[in-house]
Each structure stands twice: as C-alpha cells, then as structure tokens.
C-alpha cells in the first residue's frame, strides 16, 4: 500500500488521528478499494470510530496487492506511536508539504514519511501487528431519530459541561425540543451535584426527525473528540439514535471522507424495547427513569456465550443491509483462525478489567472472522446480540 497526502489534507489526517486517539489505544489501518480506513475501538467495546478516506483524497493511492487468500492487508499500530507523528497540528500545517504512508507486509514496518519544508524529511517506521477485522455492526437506517446540525452548534452546546464530565444525556421530543444534560450515575449523590441542562430549539438544526420522545446517554469524551474534528471540517454532523441501550451513530460525510462514530448508550432497565434480561443499573438523574433493581444475570454469561454471540452476529451480519462504507467480509478461512480467536479471547479477557465497573454500557457488536462451518452452528437470534462484561455488578 502507498498513500500520498498533500497540502491541507495532511492536517485533516492529523486531526482524524487526534480524534481516534480519544477512543482507543490502537489504530487499525486498512487500505481498501474504497479508500484508506483508519479505525479505533475502546477497551470496553463501547465506542468505535472509523474514518474512511476515499482514493481521491490522496494524490496517489495504491491499495496494494491482495494476499493469496484474496484479503487486503490490515494491521494495527499503537495509537501513541501513530499520534506521535501527527502530534503537533500547527507544525504539521506550517511545515509538512507531503505525507507518504506506505505499508509493506513483507517488511515489518508501517512507514510514515513527512516531507517538510527546507528539504527536511522525517521518516517514522512504526511496527505493526496483523489483526482481525474490526467492524462494528450497526445500521443507521434502523434508528428512529435523526438530527443534523452544524458542528458549531454542538460544540457550543457541550462547552457548558465540565471537561471532566463522563456522560451526557441527549433528549428529544416530537415537538422539536432538543436537550443535553449531564448524566448523574448511581454513585453520585443528587443533592450534592450540579445539574446542567441546555435546550436547543429545532431551528438550530438542519434536520430533525423524531418519532417519539426519547433520551439516550453516551460518553462525552469520545463525542468531543469527533466534535473537534467536525468543527474544523465545517461539515454538518448527523446523529442517529434510537432507544436507550441501542448504539448512537454519529456521522460526517463528504465526497472524499466518511466518518462514523458509534457509541453505546446506557440502557434503561424498564424500557419496553429491551430485548435482553441482562440489565444495567441506571439510576435516573432527574426522575425521568424509574429506579431499577439490579438484575444480576451475569452468572450465565461466560466467555463461551460471548464467543457464540459473536459468531451469531457474523452469520446475521451477512443478511443485514450493508452500509456502503462497510462492505461485508467473507469469513477468513482456517489457517490463521486459532491465533485469531485466541487473540479475541485475550482481547476479551483484557477488556474485562479495563471496563469501568460502574458503567454498564452494552458492548457493541463486532463481526468476527470464522469459517463458514463454525458460523453455521447456532440458533437464529435477534439482530443485535449485546454482550455484557462477565464481571457483574451486584
């Protein structure tokens, strides 16, 4: 793979990496025929982002040859290392004229070369790991509610919340009222914490489609990461969401770039749309949701069922309408399978301690890579099987 980025687009890539660094510790790089995709996911699998740069974004775009299995090469690098190349955005803008990203599977490095002014060339050789496909399964067409607004409006909205605030609740009503409020989790005492609410009128939005009154609560940190990218790109931001518990999808697009951020939302234990009996503890911040009694269903939840859940979705995934940006993948046949599934297992085990125990976000569902034979052995389930952490909170 070889991609050459020139001029102002270098800063765009830099900003994208900064945005992705708010999400996860590893950057997944995948050159496809639709363009170069940069993705990240957080350790608790509750946030996922993908930046897809079309071939025309680059002055030169060579996807690279497919490997003998017909798969494009994909790898992941340490976010810290990749971010280090693009750390200072002002100096990127001032000094860097061209950026060449090349990947040679046979060599063991991802090479990022910055061609700067005055004849200076900085070459960064980053080590990478081959990796499994990272793909969240979601479909924004299935979301009942959509908002579209210039990023500026949303930036101005979240500025009223403290930088340390973890989660924010977005509320909409069919009357066209949109509100953001800081979320108080069950650990916080309501009589001691300041509650901030911002109300925006529908005039501030370019588009609002709301089917019924709903609230969703998601992590502000990752959202802010996307907002800062959106603000500099001047593109309107679309928010697609549904009922509490189902992921919220944030998108930006233009002919050269498509950005998706998918965030898990806190589930409302009494919501009638909830499919699963595994519940989250979510005490209402303001009485909007009744207090739930904790339902500890985690005894049955073990790694095996998690793995099964993933297989299931992969199978289901083949049937779902595919979003244009994420073409369905064919299961990766056998040879590398064992190492891949053990990688997933260790990912899972690694994920559990990383999950903040009091935040029970449903993890997003990822397509797994399995042989067709393995994929065939399970009952047809509902569309999104959400896997809880096996660490339950009593």
């Amino acid at each position: 793979m070889r991609c050459l980025v020139t001029g102002g687009n270098v800063k765009v890539i830099g900003k994208a990496v900064h945005s992705l660094s708010r999400i996860g510790d590893e950057l997944y790089v995948e050159p496809t025929e639709d363009g170069l995709s940069l993705r990240a996911v957080n350790s608790s699998r509750s946030a996922y982002a993908c930046f897809l740069f079309a071939p025309l974004f680059f002055q030169l775009y060579e996807e690279g040859s497919l490997d003998p299995d017909g798969e494009t090469f994909r790898c992941k690098v340490l976010m810290k290392s990749f971010l280090g190349v693009f750390r200072s955005l002002p100096s990127l803008e001032k000094m860097v004229e061209k950026c060449l990203i090349s990947l040679n599977p046979r060599a063991s490095r991802l090479v990022v070369q910055l061609h700067c002014k005055y004849g200076v060339t900085k070459t960064h050789n980053l080590s990478f790991q081959e990796c499994e496909l990272l793909q969240a399964v979601f479909d924004k067409e299935l979301c009942a509610n959509t908002l579209r607004a210039p990023a500026r409006v949303l930036v101005d909205a979240v500025v009223h919340f403290p930088v340390t605030l973890a989660e924010v609740t977005l509320g909409v009503s069919p009357a066209g009222k949109v509100s953001f409020r800081n979320y108080l989790d069950e650990e916080t005492e309501p009589s001691r914490t300041m509650v901030t609410e911002l109300c925006l009128s529908e005039d501030e939005f370019q588009d609002i489609q709301v089917q019924q009154q709903s609230h969703v609560t998601f992590c502000l940190k990752e959202f802010r990461g996307l907002l800062s990218f959106a603000e500099s790109s001047n593109l309107p931001l679309n928010i697609h969401f549904d009922s509490p518990g189902r992921p919220a999808i944030f998108t930006l697009s233009d002919p050269l770039l498509e950005v998706h951020l998918v965030l898990a939302t806190l589930s409302d234990p009494n919501s009638s749309s909830q499919v699963h009996s595994t519940t989250l503890q979510a005490r209402p911040a303001n009485g909007a949701f009744p207090t739930a009694t904790p339902d500890d269903d985690f005894t049955g939840d073990d790694i095996d069922s998690y793995m099964i859940a993933m297989e299931t979705t992969c199978e289901e995934g083949l049937g779902l309408p595919s979003s244009p940006t994420f073409p369905q993948r064919h299961p990766h046949p056998g040879a590398g399978l064992e190492s891949q599934s053990s990688a997933m297992e260790s990912d899972l085990e690694g994920a559990v301690p990383g999950t903040p125990p009091q935040k029970k976000f449903r993890s997003l569902f990822f397509g797994s890579v399995l042989t067709p034979s393995q994929a065939g052995t399970h009952p047809g389930p509902s569309q999104d099987v959400l896997a809880e952490d096996s660490e339950g909170e009593s």
Partner: protein, 284 residues
C-alpha cells in the same frame, strides 16, 4: 423564602463572575447571606478551614437589574445558604456573552440555586442553559455563627505592596517552606521571611504607608504610642496567603493588612463595589 435576581448588563456580569471566581479560590464551601441590599459570602473560622475566615460584601444594586428577596420571616428578612462557590463559578464561566442571567432559589430534588442563562443563537429563539446548584438552607438558629467579624486590636496596620509583586514573591517562597513570616512596622516597612534549616530568604518592602485608623470614640489609636521601627510579626501558612493573593483578578482600590503580633493577620481588600476581609491565624 424567595429569591430572584437578574443580570442584563455584560459588564456587570463580568464583574460578578470575577468576584465569584475570587471567592471560589478562597473557599470550597461558604455561606451566602442575602439581604435586601447586599450579598455576603462568609466563611467562619472552623478548624477545617485552618482557622481562616472570610467576609465578602457586595451591594446588589451594582450588579443586578432586578433583585427580589423575601427572607425566612418578616422580621428576619434574610436568607442564609450554604453553597459551593466553584459551582457558581462554573455556571457563570460560559455565560459571559449571555443576553440575560437569572439566578433564583428553587426547590428541585433539593433546595437549589438555579442559574438560567439565555444565550444568543442564530435561530429565532434563544438558547437556554440552566444550572441547578444544590444548596443547604441554614436555619435561623444558626445565623449567629455568621456575624461580621470585628476589626481586631491590631499592633500594626499597613498598606500592602502591589499584589502582583507580592504574589510572585510568595509563590517562589512557597517552594521552600510551608510557613511565612509577615512582619511590618508603622514606618511603612514590611518584610516577608521564610526560614528553613538550609536557607532563609527575606524580601523587604519600603514606603508602603500606614493607613490612619481612628477608633470609634474618636481618640487616637493606641498604636500611636508604639515605636515606629518596631515590627509586629505573625507566622502564617504560606498556602493560605497565596490563595488570597492568587485569587485576585483585579487590582483592588485599597489593600491593607492589620497584624496582631503572633496572633492573626487581617487583610482588607476594597474594590469599588466589593469589599473582602480575610483573616489568617498565626501558627503556633
């Protein structure tokens, strides 16, 4: 008990915000006393505060366009609230370009001071941000705890040097020691000293001037008998002093301190519309 107030003028809002920011730097929680004419921010000298006390007084008319207060009872037409000034500071921080800011006492899940900010927006209707700050209502039987402290019987009263200079001196001293000795005399001289096993550093200020105090019965202040060269000193916690100096966002019109030797230092900072008194006890 009712309280509603509104600020419309941008300059008043900025000024009020600066006062709140200063208070927030001095106290984690404090008492807000509301009367018909004034607002007071009070901190009493509990051990938890390190014995520090604070009395800050504002004339409401200088800040608010509308101010309605109904106290707990007709003959006690005041309200005493316990609040965290940092919350108020945060609420006002992003309100600096607001069209109006309303502050009122409400009862949501608990008594709150609600700050409602109306912000300009591109659309026809304004953007509203509300901040509900939980407060505690202080019952009347405890009001006596919050009386205005009297000016102590000081040994020396002296004007402070330019606060910015004093702050940068104290800031550097903070790295060397936890206590600082503040001494001054009636000749307009002040020294700031730190002493550790390894080093002692003294900064001398001269020509500061001593404010003329006249006691209530009109007689000359007893300090007139004092030898003008003799220093009154107090050893105080350097962080408390720095908190006071660092919190000042605007240069006061008048800044002075009264030293009771080895007992307490009483700082008075006067601005046009705000007066702040701060007491730092001497360390043993």
């Amino acid at each position: 008990m009712r309280f509603r107030a509104k600020i419309v003028d941008v300059a008043c809002l900025n000024h009020f915000t600066r006062v709140i920011n200063t208070i927030a730097k001095l106290a984690k929680t404090c008492t807000l006393r509301l009367t018909v004419d004034k607002l007071y921010f009070i901190l009493t000298d509990k051990v938890a505060n390190g014995g520090v006390s604070m009395w800050c007084e504002l004339n409401q008319g200088n800040f608010f366009d509308e101010f309605q207060m109904e106290g707990v009872a007709a003959e006690h037409n005041e309200i005493y609230l316990e609040l965290t000034p940092e919350n108020l500071s945060r609420a006002l921080k992003t309100a600096q370009n607001a069209k109006t800011v309303k502050i009122k006492l409400t009862n949501k899940h608990c008594p709150c001071v609600t700050v409602a900010v109306e912000l300009p927006s591109l659309s026809s209707s304004s953007r509203i941000v509300t901040h509900d700050i939980p407060v505690g209502v202080i019952p009347r039987r405890l009001w006596n705890d919050f009386r205005e402290p009297s000016v102590p019987d000081f040994d020396v009263s002296i004007y402070l040097p330019v606060l910015k200079t004093m702050k940068s001196v104290v800031e550097r001293m903070k790295n060397l020691s936890n206590c600082i000795v503040l001494e001054a005399n009636l000749n307009g001289e002040m020294n700031l000293k730190i002493e550790t096993d390894l080093v002692s550093v003294t900064t001398h200020f001269k020509g500061l001037g001593n404010p003329p105090w006249v006691s209530e019965d009109g007689s000359q202040n007893s300090t007139q008998d004092r030898d003008p060269e003799s220093m009154a000193e107090a050893r105080i916690d350097i962080r408390k002093l720095l908190q006071l100096l660092a919190g000042q966002q605007v240069n006061p019109t008048k800044a002075l301190c009264n030293i009771v030797s080895k007992r307490i230092v009483h700082f008075i900072l006067l601005h046009e519309e705000v007066s702040l008194q701060y007491f730092i006890p001497a360390l043993a």
